[in-house]
Symmetry: C2
Subunit: 103 residues, 2 copies
């Protein structure tokens, strides 16, 4: 133990490192699930284009928002954050669709 | 089969419903992992406050960005999106810390 750092502070840094390992694991999980989610939305985009289905579906999106807000509540997550998160992801999906269409 | 809808379109809608079930499952997974991630960052905030550690750590944040960009590349996800995603989540964490500090 260094003289410059108290036992309490050293213990706090050890606990912090432990918590950060959990955060890193969760982030890796999030990135991989997002990657897989985008694979599916890419398939949705291709399907809609090939079958001439409308590119956007406001009813579906409204249902997703209600569903995610309820899931968030049950997981003790701010429902407004869940909605912002879905919007953030959907914006990226639309971006992908636009890029795909311009190719 | 309705007379107003072709077999091809009906098949496309059936496939669309199937893909959407996958998206819904991924979204439920994302919401629950995010909820757990915020539980951990809440613990980080409480630990930093009680042990008088600095609230922000730019080195840690830079490391997280590099790591997530690499994970995204290996999962065939746009690294810029992964970075934007992390920033989006961190902004929410900072918001939580501010709310906790003002209580």
């Amino acid at each position: 133990m260094s003289a410059e750092i108290s036992d309490t502070t050293a213990a706090a840094y050890a606990r912090l490192a432990e918590l950060r390992r959990s955060i890193d694991n969760f982030d890796a999980a999030l990135i991989h699930i997002l990657a897989e989610r985008f694979r599916v939305t890419k398939a949705v985009g291709a399907l809609k284009a090939s079958a001439d289905l409308p590119p956007s579906d406001p009813t579906r999106e409204a249902e997703q928002i209600v569903r995610l807000r309820n899931l968030a509540r049950s997981a003790d997550l701010d429902p407004d954050f869940a909605e912002k998160f879905l919007e953030f992801v959907i914006r990226e999906v639309i971006q992908h669709h636009k890029q795909a269409a311009s190719k």
